[in-house]
């Protein structure tokens, strides 16, 4: 398989997953805010924090009101991580790998693009938003379904899945992060009034984090207890059975990587992330705050991406200056070079 094609299908998988995740995020967040009390100061800016686009957003000079934030995340052509742009890039990657992916998958991707371009403007207001985002989510799942059901499970498929699982692990770290940043600052530095107001809602926030990841049901089935920050964080970081938990994603990555040649360095990078998630003491972590830990985790996930680059997409001997983009800075979602 061509290195350039491997890179494109990898990004196809990443963008497809990113589109689905961002749609979930906005959808669940919209419903969560209806549950939290007026004056709790959990605002829409958290969504900008999650996607790591703070700088870009500030530059755009827009307000932190619902409409602006939602528009930025879904429909803003200038935001490289917006859903409409990710769909665009995904389609472009599919268009340039049409000789690899099944024609049916291409048609579905193309249709998602055509439909969303028409509908995205309406997704900014609350009324149509939920329906449109649900359509996007189910379109993404259908596309993954066609890929899983109609494509050879060969190296190209492995790269799509690697992109997908890496993106998913990255998004899960961001979701854990949001649970903590929407709560912890208020607990540690907020006024006592705010703390009192928000305390009963701690599990509402964590519940919605789980919902964002479609993990509420899975969590309840497995943990059998009420939703508690500590249990949720452990579940999302370490679980090996819930498909959106980082533990599961890493295990799945190893499965796909083992089909590829010269995979030693990449597997080592995966093992390093595993170590970071396995060895952490969740209790202590919640006491001192998640911020630094999430940083460390995201950097180590970024290292996997860098190793993919070095091993298969742009091997060092062919590397030209400025062609490689590192993901190992926290925050901003990675983009192909």
């Amino acid at each position: 398989m061509l290195s350039s094609v491997a890179e494109r299908v990898y990004w196809l998988g990443r963008y497809l997953e990113r589109v689905e995740n961002t749609a979930r995020l906005v959808n669940v967040y919209s419903s969560m805010l209806l549950d939290t009390p007026v004056g709790s100061h959990i605002g829409w800016s958290v969504l900008i924090d999650i996607t790591g686009c703070n700088e870009e957003y500030e530059k755009s000079g827009q307000s932190l009101e619902e409409k602006s934030v939602v528009k930025f995340l879904l429909a803003d052509g200038k935001n490289s991580a917006s859903v409409i742009n990710c769909v665009n890039m995904m389609r472009e990657n599919a268009r340039t790998t049409r000789e690899i992916i099944p024609a049916e998958a291409w048609e579905k991707i193309n249709n998602l693009y055509i439909d969303l371009r028409e509908a995205i403007g309406r997704s900014i207001g609350r009324r149509a938003r939920q329906q449109i985002l649900e359509n996007v989510i189910s379109d993404c799942q259908r596309i993954f379904g066609v890929l899983a059901g109609c494509m050879n499970h060969d190296t190209a498929y492995a790269f799509i899945q690697i992109g997908r699982k890496l993106e998913r692990a990255d998004m899960t770290t961001r979701m854990v992060d949001v649970g903590s940043i929407s709560l912890l600052p208020t607990f540690s530095s907020g006024t006592s009034k705010q703390r009192l107001l928000l305390e009963p809602y701690e599990n509402v926030v964590w519940m919605n984090v789980l919902r964002c990841l479609s993990g509420y049901q899975a969590y309840r089935q497995k943990i059998h207890s009420n939703v508690k920050g500590e249990d949720v964080v452990r579940f999302l970081l370490k679980d090996n059975e819930f498909p959106r938990a980082i533990g599961y994603c890493l295990q799945d990555l190893v499965g796909h990587l083992s089909k590829l040649p010269n995979n030693e360095e990449v597997l080592r990078a995966v093992a390093r992330v595993k170590k970071v998630t396995n060895e952490v003491d969740i209790n202590a972590l919640l006491q001192r705050g998640l911020l630094d830990y999430i940083d460390e985790l995201q950097i180590s996930i970024g290292d996997i991406h860098d190793e993919l680059n070095n091993t298969w997409f742009r091997p060092v001997e062919l590397l030209k200056v400025g062609q490689q983009q590192s993901q190992s800075q926290r925050g901003k979602m990675s983009l192909p070079s």
């Binding site: 350039s4 049409r98 000789e99 048609e107 055509i114």
Partner: protein
Amino acid sequence: MTIDWKSYHPGEFHDELISSPGHPRKAARVLTRYLASLSDEELQHRQDSVNHAIKTMGISFTVYSEAGNIDRQWPFDLIPRIITKKEWDVTSKGLEQRLRALNCFIHDVYNDGKIFRNKVVPKELVMDSGNFRPQCQGMKPMHEVWAHICGTDLVRGGDGNFYVLEDNLRVPSGVSYMLENRTVTKRVFPELFENYAIEPIGEYAGQLFEMLASIDPHQKEKPEVVVLTPGIYNSAYFEHSFLAQQMGAELVQGSDLCVEDDHVYMKTINGLAPVDVVYRRIDDVFLDPEVFNKESSLGVKGLLGAWLKGNVGLANAPGAGVADDKVIYTYVPEMIKYYLGEEAILPNVPSYLCINPQHCEYVLQNLDKLVVKPANESGGYGILMGPKSTKKEREEFALKIKANPRNYMAQPLVALSTAPILVNGTVEPRHVDLRPFVLQGKSTYVTPGGLTRVALFKGSYIVNSSQGGGSKDTWIVNEE
């Protein structure tokens, strides 16, 4: 209002489906009757399905000038054009004959030059051609074939006969649209296929792959064939990826390939993998920055060397364009006689060469009646359509011709045949041409029919997709 063939008037032109208003040609009777039986709603429904199919399948092409919106949907008219198998069998033989002669000519040009010594074609005309590649002299490609894929443009004149307008021997495009047009028509008019014996066209990709495999210098059982594209911004990118997909070949860009010790490799996740045949969709001049255009980032350093050493098959061969020069074109009937000892089955359009002083004088005097073409442009660029030109355009063109007569030839405006297209629920005649595709490797193959291109504007003769033309499905119908 449903379709009424009595009010369809092609005027003085030969029409592909109708012999006179209300009287369809024999092979078109079932089709025309069927179309007239459809209600407005049904017709509109078919048109909607066409648009939907094209949109969903992502059939598109690119127009360079429309920056920002690079992908444009393929303009397709749903009424097929019908050609009888009887007529096509002869035409097909003519196309094969023509390509065989052209390949003999190209091989001769780069090797013995017999045709020059025998004074059939003047040597200096070839040496002056912008498409002559001195680097290729002495090369003997597999089967002595240089132009493996040829798109020959045919037009039907007022007399109802096919004429060859030009041969495209460099990187002819359009075959994917021919194939997709059929797919769309099958989706939209499945019932018509029951009533007609229509020649299937689906085997093109298989034939193409077999032809490419036949020029593998190593004659491996499973040769590695790649399609070399200039990339996603090229107007024919859709076609490149379509053909790669249909053949199960790798679609590569120049940056995916490299040449080491005169062997071609592609960069894969396993490392460098050997390549046996390159179906290149990049012009000669961009093919190898070591030899041709130094600035080219599309090509592959050393590719020409690898080919000259016989380590890789290259289709079409570099330098094949020497025979697709519009001045050389005028000599093709003589070439057929010279190399094959046969009479040309398909006639050329009568032509005037500006390098011939008498012809040039005639051309300059009659610019308002002629179509003047530069020798080696494609896509309808740089052409003067005399009867539709302004005085200023003619004066400018006269200066260009005087400055470089070798670079121009002229033809009378052929009264291109028409075919009905659907416009707002009724039918109107539009001019059409036909581009069949001919393959030559170890053996030859001609597509049944080809790509029918349509000038979408009333009265227009410009059918090129790059200039707003559309297309139709083309049926070769067996009446027996």
